[in-house]
């Protein structure tokens, strides 16, 4: 089985390559006028609801008081960024955030892909649909519910898991209050809640694969695993790369609510991340400027990461996100 060409590579015959001749620009613009019309509602949306409010970022450089407004508040330059970087715990918090992100990227991220491939390998639509529906259910329960159900299961005060451990002659494990168990619990819950939901996008792109390709592969005597490896995976590579890049952009942005619910005094050394720190140090104390400055810092790191990964993926012959 050789490299299977993705369905998209049928060569354009009549469309001139973009940017070929500058003299053509006016002509091209005119020919694509309806395309620009199509973009119009979307562009308007992004301008009005996304770009227009961005002036709000200015308060990162101010000592913003709600009653003075942006025009009346005092300018403090990079004061808030200095405060963040000189915070004694800053590097611990940054490290914790990056470790959780790494767990997300290397442990969680592949799970939906594998799960989608497994679901796709199921023969018979009945079980396929049933399993699919079952694994995507937890997504609809909020973190509050997931965390409180987990608490009931793992608590040392009568939780079923610890009861079982004792029953089989082991010692109780302090899941909730030990720094060592925070990360495994976190990533397990993320997988539990999100993996099934994450498969949907991959299943959709698998559905778009031309069945003829599998037919041909079977003729060549390729087994199931080889078909997965040589047809399915290459065909969804584009989606995987896109999702990967978009995920990278949220490197410092890990879902506040989940971590906050798991956080306690005993695991803070590993569980305090930037988002929970912003909540305590910024929002709960009404420190709008400080919170915004930290958000700004996160965005810049995200932007750098996206640009970096996007460039790499383009070098590797992928489309990238822009």
């Amino acid at each position: 089985m050789q490299e299977v060409t993705a369905p998209s590579s049928a060569a354009p015959k009549f469309r001139p390559k973009r940017g070929k001749k500058t003299g053509d620009l006016k002509k091209r613009l005119w020919r694509n006028k309806w395309i620009y019309v199509m973009l119009l509602p979307g562009v308007l949306y992004f301008l009005i609801f996304k770009y227009a409010p961005m002036y709000g970022l200015i308060i990162s450089f101010q000592d913003y008081k709600p009653y003075q407004g942006i025009t009346g508040s005092e300018w403090v330059g990079l004061e808030h960024f200095k405060r963040l970087f000189t915070e004694p715990e800053f590097f611990t918090i940054l490290k914790n955030t990056l470790i959780l992100f790494a767990l997300n990227l290397f442990i969680y991220f592949p799970v939906p892909i594998i799960l989608a491939l497994m679901l796709n390998e199921l023969r018979g639509n009945f079980f396929k649909r049933i399993f699919q529906t079952m694994v995507y259910l937890p997504h609809f329960m909020s973190w509050v519910i997931i965390v409180s159900i987990s608490f009931v299961m793992v608590t040392m005060d009568g939780g079923i898991i610890n009861e079982l451990l004792v029953y089989f002659g082991f010692n109780k494990i302090n899941f909730l209050l030990s720094p060592g168990w925070f990360r495994p619990m976190y990533i397990f819950q993320v997988i539990w809640r999100e993996a099934g939901w994450g498969t949907i996008i991959y299943l959709a792109s698998i559905a778009a694969i031309d069945p003829g390709l599998y037919e041909a592969a079977r003729m060549d005597g390729a087994g199931r695993l080889r078909q997965v490896w040589h047809i399915t995976l290459p065909a969804i590579r584009g989606v995987i790369v896109t999702l990967f890049i978009l995920k990278i952009g949220h490197v410092l942005d890990l879902g506040f609510e989940h971590v906050y619910l798991l956080l306690n005094s005993m695991n803070r050394e590993v569980a305090e991340i930037i988002d929970t720190y912003v909540f305590t140090a910024g929002l709960r104390q009404g420190q709008f400027s400080y919170s915004t400055a930290i958000g700004f810092f996160k965005s810049i790191i995200g932007l750098i990461m996206v640009m970096l990964v996007n460039r790499i993926s383009k070098k590797m012959g992928e489309e990238g996100v822009y």
Partner: protein
């Protein structure tokens, strides 16, 4: 589909099936617990904690939440916002995604970058609120839709799917005299049903989960969507709010009520998926191509 009848094929299928069955069971347990919890008494929940099959059955929780029409009203709002919002969002997202999927478009990369940029940077709650206020949207359902009409993530994914459609098809349509709009609605969209189904589902779930916009933009509690009710009950019943006080005057709602509300608020959106699943069947794209 030709069945793989070899021994190794059967073992492969059996292992795959067993693994999936185990995974599905583990993931579905919390939901079973919630459903079971909604059909029992708070006493049993307190005593047995992780109830999977109630020993004592009770419909009290459902009686309580259905004893007024608040939940129906909220459900109506959510369904309305979800249906209209999803249609509206799909429409403008598809237009934009198709436009940006055209590789011959000048400025395409700039547009794409500007969209990605909004995923990373945002001006915050207050400036957005001011815009919504300036547009006169406060206290209108449109405030739940317009400010989140396009998800950059969904747009990029949809664009990605559109790019995978063989360009030859579009070209031949163009030669046949189809306009750009014609190509989008007659060729591209029908060929992208799995993607359309997926992104519609994403939008529908986002609209169904609308919470913060409702709090910020709706002053009239009669207009609240279901999530506001749901979250209010869940937070009160879980004792997880950040402002614990000594207040004993207002006891939290029963745990069973919390579970019943979760069930009621989740069922409608859950039902969307099986309906969309048919578009994920293999060859769905091929079928529409012929049709």
């Amino acid at each position: 589909m030709v069945e793989d009848r070899s021994i190794s094929g059967k073992i492969y299928a059996a292992i795959n099936f067993t693994l999936l069955a185990i995974i599905a069971l583990i993931t579905v347990l919390p939901f079973v617990h919630v459903v079971a919890g909604s059909f029992t008494t708070s006493a049993e929940l307190a005593a047995n904690k992780f109830v999977l099959i109630p020993k004592v059955w009770s419909l009290d929780a459902y009686k309580f939440i259905f004893s007024t029409n608040t939940i129906f009203k909220a459900m109506g709002v959510s369904i309305g916002v979800t249906v209209i919002g999803t249609l509206f969002s799909m429409f403008i997202t598809a237009l934009m995604a198709y436009g940006l999927s055209r590789k011959d478009l000048d400025g395409r990369n700039i547009f794409n970058f500007l969209v990605v940029f909004t995923m990373l940077f945002n001006g915050g709650m207050i400036p957005t609120f001011l815009i919504v206020k300036e547009l006169g949207l406060i206290d209108s359902y449109a405030a739940l839709i317009l400010p989140s009409a396009i998800s950059a993530f969904n747009m990029i994914i949809l664009k990605n799917f559109f790019q995978n459609i063989p360009e030859g098809l579009e070209e031949s349509a163009k030669i046949d005299g189809c306009s750009d709009f014609g190509i989008l609605f007659k060729i591209v969209l029908p060929l992208s049903m799995p993607a359309i189904a997926t992104i519609s589902l994403f939008y529908a779930v986002t609209y169904w989960n609308t919470y913060m916009s409702a709090i910020l933009y709706l002053d009239d509690s009669a207009k609240w969507p279901i999530q506001v009710l749901l979250r209010q009950i869940v937070v009160l019943a879980s004792g997880m709010d950040h402002s614990s006080t000594l207040d004993g005057t207002v006891p939290p709602p029963d745990q069973t009520i919390k579970m019943a509300v979760i069930v009621v608020a989740t069922l409608p959106i859950l039902m969307v998926y099986p309906y969309l699943q048919k578009h994920f069947a293999k060859g769905a794209m091929l079928g529409s191509m012929k049709g």
